[in-house]
Amino acid sequence: MGPGTRYALRSIASGLGTLLFVVVFNFFLFRLLPGDPIGLYTRGRNVPPEQIAALRAELYKPIAEQFLTYLANPLATTINSARYNRPVWELICERIGATLLLVGTATVLAAVIGTWIGIRAAWKRGQRFDKVSTAVTLTLYAMPEFWLGMLLLITFGVGIGVLPGMFPIGGIRTPGVDASSLAGWLDIVWHMVLPVTTLMFTYLAEYALVMRASLIDEMGQDYLTVARAKGLLDRTVRRRHAVPNAILPTITLIFLNLGFVVSGAITVETVFSWPGLGLLSYEALRGPDIALLQAIFLLFSFGVIVANIIADLLYAVLDPRVRS
């Protein structure tokens, strides 16, 4: 077994260990929450007392029994949500697409644009592009997501002065537009513009700054001087020699962030009425709907852990030093 394989196995094993811990911890964490979900869900409805008792009996089985049911089925494909009375996994599947679409698009766009900004800023360090881009991305980074979202919503959704409200106030689709048609797809893109822009703006700085710093580190290296001495174009030096060496931390960052794609952006989903997982988890907290909460949190943790493992492995592939 070579050092590379050993490294890979170690990464995966530690990831699995974390996952196991999360699975167990997750179960007990949500059982510490106070509250009487059945009382809340039945309040003000014509539910006969016997039925309320039956619902409670179903929810409050002995803790050991609950734990075994959960272990056998941690993602709750057969466990019903207390509030929606449907398998938790179904509820998650209905929402996960919207979140992946929103946060995934924003993450990819932010990575591409942010890295590009970082490269340019580093290459022309101290010049106007560097100063302006650093100031702008940092300002966007410092803004709370919901606030930036609301600013964009009011400016481009509602419209200010002569500026008309161009984009939808919320949602992912226009009722009545056929979802499978080209119009339906464009309609979704149309609804994505504001929330994706909001998220992308707030993510931008991370990539830009990491890329900039790492490229600046690289720029003093002797091999770049050699490359220039060979008479290579400045652009070629940058693209073929400097950037490939400097991009490593950015790639790690991209994969780490991809892990957070599932957990989405509760605040942005709320501002733009985006029907994703963020909203579902917020609704699950009211009650609390324990089966739903624990499945969602398990999914979130799973996303982060898997992304971490991938980042670890990818790092080893890209940088031989890590393997030894």
Partner: protein
């Protein structure tokens, strides 16, 4: 943007405008590098819908569209709501807006009148209680059909009731209605006979949605728990209400189409959509913009901001909800075993009356409700004029009287201005407010202040509603703030003060009943039992008033206010809403679907709306110029970005060669 114009033109406007954009793309491609081009394509893809909009605003029928555009598109009415409907299955849904969906989809035997909520014909055109008071016979309207064309008869109604009576899970939403019904039969297609254990007035307003037997008999008692009851692409949900459910997108919208076979006739509006927004502000902005036509349940500040705008009418509707400050009058299980750690002083009615006198209800209405409501008194809101009791003497705001009552109860003021307990310690209460409600948080702040002015020590805490239910159930509280929404039939509300609704215990765990004050009064319980079997409307009302008087005097609650429901709509597009009760109540979300039957597009035949210049066909008129402007702007942005990128590339290319 989307909502309204596209509703009106449910054809595909996009293809028509793609061509010019595409040619622009190729021009750019030639002069730029691959990466630049790729970036541009992304940008253009993002902006494409924007560019497509002018076609919509210009109202040019896209030639590519296969279906012809009607000259007067079907009028579509869109309602904005702040909470998604949890389930379209009438056995499952729990949020209050879910019932709006069910009553749009399914008929009920009777309905509540628009003027005074009295029982009026629904699916049943008449009904009769037998002389021995053991059966009720309902005459079902003849010749009705379900939306799929199958006949709708008394057999469907009998099936539905039988299913609930014999069911397990099916009891969850309707159990209390059928608790007294022993048998449901349909001797013929036009007659439904329900047998009852004892006389009960609830037979006049059984809010049970009658379901099509041929659909629901396929869904067994186990499957029904997770049955979604949602339409598929070509199969609407079979119903017989004014509207038929045709599309449901979770967390997004619910779309209905008018039912031509509805027994009161096809509604004027062909298409009805409920759109979900996750915050109240978004609903207001959507109304302002015309994305929706109706906003329900608005917050006062938002309501005030939009109601004066042109084209929007705001209505502060008298509502059937109240809020209260509740007291722990001595928490106990149903068998009388005391539980919890409630303050003993609150067992004394004089102390609760004193605290009633300390609450300035006018101030709460003015500040917490921004004026949209009325001071509260009894537990049946005045909107139900036939049932509400206006007490002869009110617990008006009178701190002096409050102080006297506390003195009499044996809690005198100490030298430090604090009232003393019987063993010389400061008299101190815990006060709980609800996290979820800004009004609750504000109310407890004021109330704590007024109580402290009396010399009491108040420890205010804000908790979530589910935690509060638990604390209420276990009796681990002194004073709390919450509220109820009261149905036209008072039984449920009255039951919350009976001894039987105190907490229960099972396997060492205490569970809350409906009573959150743990009130228990023998006379009240007797009256409750009496009203439950009194089928004479007037006699029952007298009993219900007497019960309100007991609760008022004993004061387990200090009803703080009856709040208004704030609704607003696009009066430049729609008119002829029906309020329930007349000229005062809500325009939508009523007991019954009256408004949906009467709403008319402005300018449509038969209405003489004051804004007659605004025809239905150009109802989206003010969206038009915006759209054109927007298209231009989009083109400009695309062009600008293209030029900037190209110049940028050229310049950097130039630098490289230096």
């Amino acid at each position: 943007m989307t909502g309204e114009p596209i509703n009106r033109f449910p054809v595909k406007p996009w293809p028509a405008v793609q061509a010019p954009r595409a040619s622009e793309t190729t021009v750019t491609q030639r002069s730029a590098r691959r990466r630049t081009a790729a970036a541009l394509i992304v940008v253009i893809a993002l902006l494409m819908p924007m560019a497509a909009m002018p076609a919509v605003s210009a109202k040019e029928p896209p030639s590519a569209a296969p279906t012809p555009i009607p000259i007067f598109p079907a009028p579509s009415f869109t309602v904005g709501v702040t909470e998604d409907i949890d389930s379209m299955n009438p056995f499952t849904g729990i949020v209050s807006t879910a019932h709006e969906m069910y009553q749009l989809m399914y008929p009920t035997l009777t309905s509540s009148a628009t003027d005074d909520f009295s029982a009026v014909p629904g699916l049943a055109e008449s009904w009769q209680e037998s002389d021995d008071k053991t059966t009720w016979t309902y005459k079902i309207r003849p010749g009705l059909t379900w939306s799929d064309g199958k006949p709708l008869t008394a057999r469907d109604a009998a099936y539905t009731f039988k299913r609930i009576i014999e069911g397990d899970y099916e009891q969850t939403n309707y159990g209390s209605y059928v608790a007294n019904i022993t048998k449901a039969e349909a001797p013929d297609d036009g007659t439904l006979v329900l047998s009852v254990k004892r006389p009960t007035p609830v037979m006049l307003r059984l809010a049970v949605y009658v379901l099509p037997e041929h659909v629901w008999s396929e869904i067994d008692g186990k499957e029904v728990r997770s049955y979604a009851n949602e339409p598929t692409a070509d199969q609407p949900v079979v119903g017989a209400g004014p509207y038929v459910l045709v599309e449901r997108r979770k967390g997004q919208f619910i779309r209905f189409q008018a039912n031509p076979n509805y027994y009161l006739g096809k509604p004027n509006i062909d298409e009805l959509t409920f759109r979900v927004y996750t915050n109240a502000d978004a609903v207001a902005q959507a109304l302002r913009k015309g994305e929706i036509d109706f906003a329900d349940d608005m917050q006062a500040n938002v309501f005030n901001a939009v109601k004066g705008e042109s084209g929007i009418t705001g209505v502060n509707a008298t509502y059937y909800g109240f809020n209260q400050i509740g007291f722990n009058v001595g928490a106990a299980l149903t068998d009388g075993t005391p539980i919890g750690d409630g303050h003993p002083a609150l067992k004394d009615p004089r102390v609760r009356q004193a605290l009633n006198h300390a609450i300035n209800r006018e101030a709460l209405v003015r500040i917490v409700l921004a004026g949209y409501g009325t001071p509260g008194s009894t537990i049946i809101p005045p909107l139900y004029a036939n049932l509400h009791l206006q007490p002869a003497t009110l617990f008006d705001y009178d701190p002096e009287r409050a102080g006297q009552l506390l003195d009499e109860a044996g809690y005198p003021l100490g030298a430090d201005g604090k009232r003393m307990n019987k063993n010389g310690k400061p008299l101190s209460f815990r006060l709980l407010g609800r996290q979820e409600s800004p009004q609750s948080r504000q109310t407890v702040q004021f109330v704590a202040g007024w109580f402290e002015d009396l010399g009491l020590t108040i420890d205010t805490k804000i908790v979530s509603e589910d935690t509060l239910i638990e604390l209420n159930g276990e009796g681990r509280f002194d004073i709390f703030e919450w509220g109820w929404v009261v149905e036209p039939d008072p039984d449920y509300q009255l039951s919350t003060f009976t001894c039987a609704q105190r907490s229960s215990q099972k396997d060492g765990t205490i569970y809350a009943g409906l009573s959150d004050s743990h009130f228990c009064n023998e006379e009240y319980d007797q009256l409750y039992a009496a009203q439950a079997v009194e089928t004479d409307v007037a006699k029952r009302a007298a009993i219900v008033r007497a019960m309100q008087q007991i609760v008022y005097d004993q004061a387990p609650y200090a009803v703080t206010f009856y709040y208004d429901k704030l609704q607003a709509y696009r009066s430049d597009r729609f008119t002829d809403f029906t309020q329930q009760p007349k000229d005062a109540g809500p325009l939508l979300f009523q007991f019954g679907t009256w408004s949906y039957q009467s709403i008319t597009p402005v300018g449509a035949a038969g209405t003489g709306g004051e804004s007659g210049t605004n025809g239905a066909s150009d109802a989206d008129g003010d969206g038009g110029p915006n759209l054109a402007l927007m298209g231009g702007l989009a083109a400009l942005v695309v062009a600008g970005i293209g030029v900037a990128v190209v110049i940028g590339r050229r310049r950097s290319a130039g630098e490289d060669t230096e």
